[in-house]
């Protein structure tokens, strides 16, 4: 059981980290609470399913097309729907909720509400420390780690990353220094959604694909981001691993754990917020006026 907890927690934590870091990024740069973030994850899974099972493309082609396509769609949605109402925070909020609903209903219409299965990318598994780990889960972990390193490289080793961090730090000053903050926001949207899309593609063979698959990870992701501190990459990563393990422990160790896994994770988030209102690694914001 301990080994099960170890593996499940690590794999789920990796997926959550991909989602949470993308969400945190877009919140930090553009102050958008993007409820549609996991809807893009759902779209990527559906796209991958269509290309792989219906169009019989290879795994790599299907995955690449899905990620690029969903990212392009996200940038388009941002330009058409979010940018015109950027000054009104409340309007942005319900625009993202409405977008998520639109995607959910579109998928429900075109694929129906039943679960879709996707064949594993890699068959077989390996026995490690007395617990069998399917290769698919190893792949998820590897991809998550690779993407996280890639994001770190983009943010801390390129000029674009510098611009993103500067904008997140202070939008107005970044604008005065000659950065095109609108374009920076757009790049950030693309970066963050591509992370969600990668997560959607890699987990599609393990989880089932259905139009409502965005809701459960959405709540967990929000819990992680709040736990780690909004806008903090390090916090999101540590929060993701922590919540992944907490869920795994609840499911394996408690009676009726499957029902309680969300509740326990959220209760821990609330408990942390009571002690540290700005999350574990959040910066205590000065009063924003």
């Amino acid at each position: 059981m301990l080994q099960d907890i170890f593996v499940t927690g690590l794999v789920n934590g990796g997926v959550y980290a991909l989602l949470a870091i993308g969400f945190s990024l877009i919140f930090g740069v553009a102050r958008i609470v993007n409820i549609a973030h996991t809807a893009f994850y759902m779209l990527a899974a559906y796209c991958f399913y269509t290309l792989l099972v219906k169009a019989q493309l290879g795994f790599v082609t299907a995955a690449l097309i899905s990620v690029v396509g969903v990212t392009a769609l996200a940038v388009l949605c941002y330009r058409l729907v979010i940018e015109p109402v950027r000054e009104h925070e409340a309007a942005v909020l319900i625009a993202t909720i409405a977008l998520a609903l639109v995607f959910q209903e579109l998928m429900l219409l075109s694929f129906g509400g039943h679960y879709l299965g996707i064949p594993s990318t890699l068959e077989g598994g390996v026995r490690l420390l007395g617990v069998s780990i399917p290769y698919q889960r190893m792949l998820i972990l590897a991809v998550a780690a690779a993407m996280l390193i890639l994001v770190w490289a983009v943010l801390y080793r390129t000029r674009v990353g510098l611009a993103i961090r500067a904008t997140a730090n202070d939008l107005e000053v970044a604008n005065l220094m000659g950065m095109n903050v609108h374009r920076v926001a757009m790049v950030t949207v693309a970066l963050s959604v591509s992370l969600a899309a990668v997560a959607g593609v890699v987990v599609a063979p393990v989880f089932v694909v259905d139009p409502f698959m965005w809701l459960a990870p959405l709540v967990t992701m929000l819990a992680i981001v709040v736990l780690g501190g909004l806008g903090s990459m390090k916090g999101s990563l540590i929060g993701a691993i922590a919540i992944g393990y907490i869920e795994a422990i609840t499911v394996f160790a408690l009676p009726a754990g499957a029902y309680l896994k969300g509740a326990v994770a959220l209760a821990i988030m609330v408990a942390v917020l009571l002690v540290r209102p700005e999350g574990l690694f959040g910066v205590a914001f000065e009063e924003e006026r």
Binding site: V102, L108, V219, Y259, K261, A263
Partner: protein, 346 residues
């Protein structure tokens, strides 16, 4: 005779001079007169639900719009009211006329508790933390299926009244009472303090306002109103299920509130009265039924592109203007202010 003349004068000078007040009057009269004019059971059913959700949306606006505590888990109070009232009336056999008050009281308690927990949080942290509460409650309910009925919920709850017309009047009258009550509250000194807390909590505290007490009070009041509507909802549908606690309902009320216009009370009510019957009507077409939620989301998106501040403030600014001197509102067609006769700046 004197009273009648007095009433007419009030009506003419206070209500009919402003299009928005006239619209509210017409709306109230239409609501009360509807069963005589058009007593179709289906229409009455939809409007009963609309009234209940209008209370729910208005209570959210008091919390999110006026006080700035944007609550993403407002379904908690709705569900608490529904479950408490249903359990009390079913397990203990108490008459529903009493249990709906008990449901509101339990929801107020939940409001107080959740408000107490998030007192130190602000902004997005508060929104996301409040999202957790209904889900935690839902997880606990699912873990004890004997008590809560699990995923099926508690069914077989007694109705308040038998006929559709009586049920409609219960919902409509309590909706009018609560919504006007909340409106009066929001317009009172209490409401001004709420505005101050939203705009600048530190400044409000520096002015000697105990903001914590006000925030707890508003969480309890909003919780009680939402719980009352939840209890009525459970007794109307005769079931209190997990759908009353779901994320979808919490998001729904956020959409209604912002679509109608924040910090207005009448905005969210107007949004519910437009959007809920509209989506139900769209759903009644056989080929169109599946597109209901899609159409709802698309309408919200498109309307938002043109009216980012919400529907009600946009319409109100079109038909009314503010006098530049005395700050009273005037019909947009007037060239001088009706009170101080200052020329209106276009």
């Amino acid at each position: 005779m004197y009273l009648a003349r007095r009433a007419w004068a009030e009506l003419k000078n206070e209500i009919l001079v402003l299009p928005s007040r006239t619209a509210v009057l017409l709306w109230v009269l239409a609501l009360l007169a509807l069963p005589w004019a058009y007593g179709d059971a289906y229409v009455l059913r939809i409007l009963t639900m609309t009234c209940l959700f209008a209370v729910f949306a208005a209570s959210w606006d008091l919390l999110a719009g006026y006080t700035g505590q944007v609550n993403f888990g407002h379904a908690l109070y709705f569900g608490a009211g529904a479950y408490a009232s249903a359990l009390l009336s079913l397990k203990l056999g108490i008459t529903p006329w009493l249990t709906i008050w008990a449901g509101a009281a339990v929801a107020a308690l939940f409001g107080f508790a959740s408000g107490y927990l998030v007192l130190r949080l602000r902004g997005s942290y508060l929104s996301l933390a409040t999202l957790a509460f209904p889900l935690i409650t839902l997880g606990i309910l699912f873990a004890f299926p004997d008590f809560s009925g699990g995923e099926l919920g508690i069914s077989g709850v007694r109705r308040l009244a038998v006929t559709p017309v009586a049920n409609y009047y219960i919902a409509a009258v309590s909706m009018l009472a609560i919504v006007f009550g909340l409106w009066a509250l929001a317009d009172s000194k209490f409401g001004i303090v709420l505005h101050a807390i939203r705009d600048d909590e530190v400044a409000a505290r520096a002015s000697g306002i105990n903001t914590l007490r006000y925030k707890l009070a508003i969480f309890s009041i909003a919780g009680a109103a939402a719980g009352f509507s939840g209890a009525l909802f459970a007794h109307y549908l005769r079931v209190a299920g997990p759908s009353t606690l779901e994320v979808a309902l919490s998001f729904q009320v956020v959409i209604w509130g912002i679509f109608g216009g924040l910090a207005t009370v009448y905005g969210p009510v107007a949004a519910v009265f437009l959007l809920y019957p509209l989506t139900e009507w769209l759903g009644s077409f056989r080929n169109f039924g599946e597109l209901r939620l899609l159409a709802f989301a698309l309408i919200v998106l498109f309307v938002l592109l043109f009216m980012p501040r919400g529907l009600a403030p946009w319409v109100r600014d079109k038909v009314e203007g503010q006098c530049p001197r005395c700050k009273q509102r005037n019909g947009a067609w007037r060239s001088v202010c009706r009170l101080c006769s200052a020329p209106a700046l276009s």
